[in-house]
Amino acid sequence: MKFETPAGINPIDKQTVIGKPTDRIEGPLKTTGTAKYAYEHNDVVSNPAYGYVVGAAIAKGRIKSIDQTKAKAAPGVLAIVTAASAGPLKPGQFYVDKLLAGPDIDHYHQAVAVVVAETFEQARAAASLLKISYTKTKGAFDLAAAKDSAPVPKQGQFGPPPQTNVGDFGGAFASAPVKLDETYTTPDQTHAMMEPHATIARWDGDKLTCWSSIQQINWGVRDIATVLGIPKENIRLISTFIGGGFGGKGTVLSDIIAASLAARAAGRPVKVALPRPLIMNNTTHRPATIQRIRIGATPDGTITAIGHENWSGNLPGGRPESSTASTRLLYAGANRFTQLRLAVLDLAEGNAMRAPGEATGMMALEIAMDEMAEKLKMDPVAFRLKNDTQEDPEKPGRKFSTRKLVECLQTGATKFGWSKRQTQPGTVREGQWLIGMGVASAIRGAPVMKSAARVRLSREGIVTVETDMTDIGTGSYTIIGQTAAEMMGVSLDKVVVTLGDSTFPESPGSGGQWGAASATSGVYAACVKLREAVANSLGVHIEDAEFVGGQVLAGNRSHPLGDAAKAAELVVTDEMTYGTLSREYAQDTFGAHFVEVGVNSYTGEVRVRRMVAICHAGRVLNPKTARSQVIGAMTMGVGAALMEELVVDKHVGFFVNHDLAGYEVPVHADIPHQEVILLEDIDPTMSPMKAKGIGELGMVGVAAAVANAVYNATGIRVRDYPITLDKLIDKLSING
């Protein structure tokens, strides 16, 4: 099915199952420990061996030699695989990192060997017996030092154009009566999903099956084939449950290659999980940025010039952090300029992490807007409202499909009690604590991608959905089930959803905030076809047929749905593809974040006291799981604001704090009750589902709202994330 014109009324609009805050259908499995994650498929492999990945001990250079004598002689050892013994390996098509390195080492903890043994304990012990000698070479680890020589990169597959110019930014900024020119920095961050990257690999002849933790199954299969040089047809990839990803498990990383090579070398199925202290330097991360923002405005608060430059670093061939993306669309302004610059750094690969580009860019832009509002003596909400736009500011005439940023800000301001905010910072005190409020807008693109599904109808009236879509905690199982139930007129308990298997029809997987909108639309397409098959089978006209209550009503007659499959199970497959609507309309999601913080006037500790988010993101397929996406993203935003930083040791060349004690993410105590309001929105330009993603939107702007609240509490403007107490205390007045 091809979606080419805005959707009219369709069965989804009934919203008898869709749009309801249904409990997750896989909830009883997850809460009882019976949902199986990659490393836990002990039932499918008898007698697995264990692989342990060894990471490079240097940041850059060459392996001189690997002495395997002791490791090979260690108890239980079955095989040792290194780049030298693995045969030719190519990089994948998304990540540029070499997943088993040697002799050249590109970054610290890059995988250099996998040791396979009978037990986990033996593999781990033997891994430390490998004697690897290196020759170190000089590397580049300091983004600030590499900044000035960093070129503008080529346009990548994802992300905005590396440079955009509209009007005369330079002239307009120079002549603006009120202007701001500030630089902001965001640190390297790590996904820190709770499930480590893990794979069980099994070879049956030349067929490879991997139980792994991969967000995009289609990319996973493609990249296993590419890296190992084997045909895609020989690969089966299964990711039934994924213990978090946030972009960090987009496709193939070292665990899956290590497990596959190890299983081949050992002649046995092999289990590999990356040790936690290895993950942060071995796999991908969100790259650090340096951002310069310039805003010019007239005294009434009209933005006349807006410029955003961003510097980030990566391995050669890696992508830039697209921090300028939001600035192109969020606010009006006739003269505009954005530019990305990309340095080569010899740290682990920088790549997608939840709202790549938007999260980092808005950490800077939305502080800049707060600063600008202050210069203009305007309320920060009013300043944002003043510069709303209903069309793409780079392409006048191109409308937003739907855009309720104004309503988000206004609703949030009311709900939060924004009117109580004191304009003068540092004036609200409760005991030792200074209290402040902050706001930020949110915007995140709403891409939708080709997606396929197979649906089956049994004679018992059970509808089974099969697609290689994944559920990384997003609620895919449930919203896909709700979609099929709505389309086929059955209750949710009559739907079985099976996901995450490359033998199922292809979806775009979980990423880029496209998963929910795309995968459910694919299921919609397949269900349209199944409805036709049902009508055919029952001998009724599809135009006359109504699917409701497990029955098919046509004319005066009612047929149990399962009757259509009396003779044989009905099985159909279809996919949803798209025309040009996404070019005709700017399709985005919007939101507003309001945060109240307390800052201890003695110690500078910052604690979040209240959070309210308003989101506008198409039809809400399930308010319960959508809200959870948002509160989770808000939590990650608090982490970004206050504590998360992979610290670069510029001498050694690595992320120093590479475990979950050193890299702090928010804990329960950091997060108060969070309020989320989902504004009604039906976007018929998206798909028949009229839905958009929301999981990344919820993070965008949060950190800046926290930063702005810290400023409001203390009068101290920190432009260098995370906002830790050491950046506050020398300016913080104990007595107010």
Partner: protein, 316 residues
């Protein structure tokens, strides 16, 4: 983790004797730090002596009015003990500010005293660390030192003692009781229990080989307001950037020990007479001789300000 042999013993003297028999053996109590380090091969004992079931898990009042805490009393039970809560609230507070509920259920009093630093270079066996490999160098001094020590450190090591419990015990004038393989007992005042690193940062306490901690003795309670103020980036489940353990009396006198800044709980009794004059004077004296790095010099101000917060709180 290197392979090891394992035995269980039934008494403290047996434990010490077992250690004397096997060079390099380690006592295993809660294991929350030792196993962590063994997985990374920072510790690699060839033999483990499990002392988890040798008793030493009682808390008893002493005839002199003090409190004797068995070495194997876990952190939860110690923090929740009625006498500790009533008379040594500082100790309860410090314990409850540390780690997590799960870890406190497992971690023991003796193990907590002996927990090793959390310096990230100590924890990464690819990096230079004089504490882990004597004489190899220290990558932390020129590296990421935001959380590391500012005083009592040396040019060989700037690691901190990471715990909370011992900081409170230091303010409470605790004594560590031990036994050796021959059954000989020692009482070691906590003020001299931890060594400063000098050129031998791998030597962390004055415990002798095969000596086993059996108890911690607290002297009779001294009253006053007990406050443990732990400063950290996130609100819980994190090591201290700075912590202040204070007992403040009505007349403004008091005792203050500071955590997170030194290789041992940092207390300078001679500075405490300045407490009535305020945090600034006290902190200046307490931190005399401090040698912070560029990355952790904020701790100088943070100590002063946290002491000020504590004094402010004590007055309310």
């Amino acid at each position: 983790m290197k392979t090891f042999t394992y035995e269980r013993v039934n008494t403290p003297v047996e434990a010490a004797a077992a250690a004397a028999r096997t060079p390099g053996a380690k006592f295993l109590a809660g294991g929350t730090n030792l196993l962590d380090l063994m997985k990374l091969e920072i510790e690699a004992p060839p033999h483990i002596i499990d002392i988890g079931k040798i008793g030493l898990d009682k808390i008893e009042s002493t005839p002199a009015g003090g409190l004797l805490i068995g070495a194997l009393v876990n952190n939860t039970d110690l923090a929740a003990h009625s006498i500790v809560r009533r008379d040594y609230g500082l100790l309860s507070r410090a314990l409850l500010a540390g780690a997590s509920g799960q870890l406190r259920n497992k971690a023991t009093t003796a193990g907590n005293l002996l927990q090793r630093t959390r310096c990230p270079y100590f924890y990464d066996t690819n990096q230079l660390c004089n504490k882990r490999v004597p004489g190899s160098g220290c990558a932390a001094i020129a590296g990421f030192s935001r959380q590391l020590g500012i005083i009592g450190t040396s040019n060989a090591c700037i690691a901190t003692y990471p715990g909370d419990m011992a900081v409170a015990m230091r303010a409470l004038d605790a004594t560590v009781e031990t036994v050796n393989a021959k059954g000989a007992k020692r009482a070691l005042s906590l003020d001299r229990f931890y060594r400063l690193p000098g050129q031998t940062p791998h030597l962390e306490t004055i415990l002798e080989k095969n000596e086993l901690i059996t108890a911690v003795l607290l002297p009779p309670p001294v009253g006053g307001v007990h406050i443990y103020h732990k400063v950290r980036d996130r609100a819980s489940y994190a090591f201290a950037l700075v912590s202040v353990a204070a007992i403040i009396q009505k007349n403004g006198s008091g005792r203050v020990a500071v955590g997170g800044i030194a290789p041992r709980p940092w207390r300078v009794e001679g500075a405490e007479s300045l407490l009535p004059s305020g945090a600034k004077a006290f902190a200046a004296q307490l931190l005399t001789g401090a040698r912070p790095t560029k990355e952790n010099e904020y701790k100088l101000a943070l100590v002063e300000r946290t002491v000020a917060a504590v004094l402010n709180e004590a007055n309310h």
